[in-house]
Amino acid sequence: MIAELGLCALWLAAALAALQLVAAWLGQRAGGETLARIVRPAALVQALLCGLAFLMLLWVFARTDLSVKLVVENSGSDAPMIYKIAGAWGNHEGSMLLWITIMAVAGGLIALIEHRLPEKTMLATLGAQAFVGLGFYAFLLFASNPFARVIAPPADGDGLNPALQDIGLAMHPPTLYCGYVGLSIAFSFAVGALLTRQVTPDFARVMRPWILGAWIFLTLGITAGSYWSYYELGWGGWWFWDPVENASLMPWLAATALFHSASVLASRDALRTWTIMLGVIAFSMSMIGTFLVRSGILTSVHAFAVDPTRGTFILALLAINIGGALALFAARAGTIAEGERFAPLSREGALVINNVTLSAVLGIVLVGTLYPLLTEAFGLRVSVGPPYFNPVSMVFVTPMLIVLAIGPLLRWRRDSFARVRTPALLAAAAAVIALLAVWLVAGIALLPLLGLTLAAGVAVSAFMPLRGRSLRRLPLATCGMAISHFGIAVALFGMAVDTAFTVEKLTAAGVGDTVAVGPWEVRLTSVEPVAGPNWTALAGRLSASYRGGAAHELVPQSRTFWAPPQTTAESALLTRWNGQLYTVLGEQTQDGRWQLRLWWKPFVTFIWLGGVLIGLGGLLALIGRVAVDVRRRKAARRSATRKAEIAR
């Protein structure tokens, strides 16, 4: 009954999306004002219905309703409640329902609160949102119904993939999806602006909080995903250039470029067509990411879904949405008037370089991700990994970070080097000192050396825009920018140090043996069996001491789940301020010793700390922008009423 209610709500929501699209279309014409009035309510009710459908899915998962096919395949009665609920989106159908729910809720929100743009542009925007939504409704209802029943309910479900039974991963997909789908709003605004030829600073101001919001979710989602794969997969790496990781990185790169160019449009009325183009590209990257992950065409540890019909369906959606938007762009771009002018050496000029380098990195990642698929069509199987991605993207990341250090100091419109000489020299000095210090102390590879140099320069320059300004009168957005840019330096520092100075020890140790790894002495005290709610494990007890100091205990496990039957290695980590000790327990050797894999990873936590700082900066900027908006709207309302009074 609950499942049918959910399915029913989903069909109704799809019908409302169709209504929203038609009403928005016809409402544009003369005499369509009545129709136009139902567009916003339709978007709202659609959001409520989608939310209801998703709640119903959570309900059947929470109760482990074994007459629902999805529950049987992805949950079990003995899993802890949190993983029962997370099981609702830890699979293809459920995650697509989550996608469309977030999209409908975002559409409902703009229908509810956004009144600054011309009504025609809003109609076109909501129409575009409904159009994109309809494709995904069709996909859910015809090709991946989450509420399908089974004829004969089994005694118990198959269980959730053990690799997914982890709190980090439980929250990972919703976070990323908020980012992916938030970009659909930017896409719809871009299409709406193109259709009505209203590319104005107002348009950028309306769009910006949505991009920033989506971008914050993407930043945090990628950071969390990276940390999850770091401790869960037990390989000690934090970024594998896996296609699924790239699928989340590409929308992030596009969104980063987009809100930088949107800020140019909002403040200076320049880069109009460019911003529209990026709006289209950003959501296209989200959809390409979803296609890569959900169609299962990739050789990837993440590709849980394998079904070619679905792949074809998403590919068709991609072609229609992206192709349509690009065709519209091609037809309309020429009619959008040129924006304001600026000199090459200006804030705008720096942001153009930011945009171009980000787009170049995006292109490099996209090509590297799709290349194996392309060659496979010609019968040649290849895989593309770090030896391609790292150096090639660094070619563009390096100038990007140099401009990142200088750009925020420049004035809009026109500036001179002489004015920013002091802060630029300070940043350059920091970079050179870091370069020489690292070079003299330790011979390390080129890329980490470059990373450390840039990190030092960016870290110093990040706070330069705050120089000589009163902290109390500082706009929140500027403060957010400084924190985000500093976060980039922090993350880069962590990546470079981890790459250059990680110590690894792989050995077989008997109980009572001591192993040295970097500054650590690690003793294997015992290995004993333990039991969990749906698994049993062998737990190794390790006693670790840093430079002969107090002993800390770590308990890495080798876990065997019984639903589904599978063994996973649970690593154990010990965090100090200056790094992490990472331990993995392997198998028992024939002579009774235990395989141990240990890493000392100096400053590795800075990678994710940097990611969190980047997101936090974005959050401050978002709060600052929204607060300014609200104040501006109030002021406008006040002056309007005063004018009305005077007129009377």
Binding site: N161, P162, A163, G234, W235, L298, T299, V301, A303, F304, V306, E338, R341, F342, A343, P344, L345, V352, V356, T357, S359, A360, G363, I364, V367, G368, Y371, P372, T375, L380, R381, V382, S383, V384, G385, P387, Y388, V392, V395, F396, R413, R414, L506, T507, A508, P564, P565, Q566, T567, T568, A569, V584, G586, E587, T589, Q590, D591, R593, Q595, R597
Partner: protein
């Protein structure tokens, strides 16, 4: 330096700038892909035409039954990967994936050693009951076809 471009020129300059960047990115990507992409081999292909020793490749095949030996250090493994036609000795240092065993499929990432053995840096085995690396799916089909051809 000219203060600001004329409107027409500014748009043109921006477009040219973006195109040049795309061009550089494209050329770099193409060059790097040719040199850095790691190709997938089955043992008989490596035996017939070994790749350069410094080049990273992927090797896919079945772990020969009875060939898996662990060295006295407890963490170095030697085994033989075969595809029905050819076979190749492989050395791996590390913790083997949980589903890695004799008679099952494996994809090894690594490079050839001068002595004709394959040094694996990483092993990808079946990840769980449902998931099979794409290379392995095709591999076992190929395998089946060759097995049929040999028994005829």
């Amino acid at each position: 330096m000219t203060a600001a471009f004329k409107p027409k020129h500014q748009r043109l300059v921006l477009i040219v700038f973006a195109l040049v960047a795309i061009l550089i990115a494209g050329v770099l990507a193409a060059w790097a892909l040719r040199n850095q992409a790691s190709y997938f081999y089955i043992p008989s292909q490596i035996v017939a035409n070994p790749p350069a020793a410094d080049r990273n490749v992927r090797l896919g095949g079945m772990v020969k039954v009875g060939s898996l030996k662990t060295a006295p250090d407890g963490v170095t493994m030697h085994f033989v990967v075969f595809d029905g036609k050819g076979e190749l000795p492989v050395t791996f240092q590390g913790l083997a994936p949980d589903l890695f065993k004799e008679g099952s499929g494996v994809v090894a990432e690594g490079h050839m050693m001068p002595d004709g053995t394959f040094m694996a840096d990483n092993l990808l085995a079946k990840h769980d009951e449902n998931y099979v690396p794409r290379e392995l799916q095709d591999m076992t089909k190929e395998q089946a076809r060759q097995a049929v051809a040999e028994t005829k």
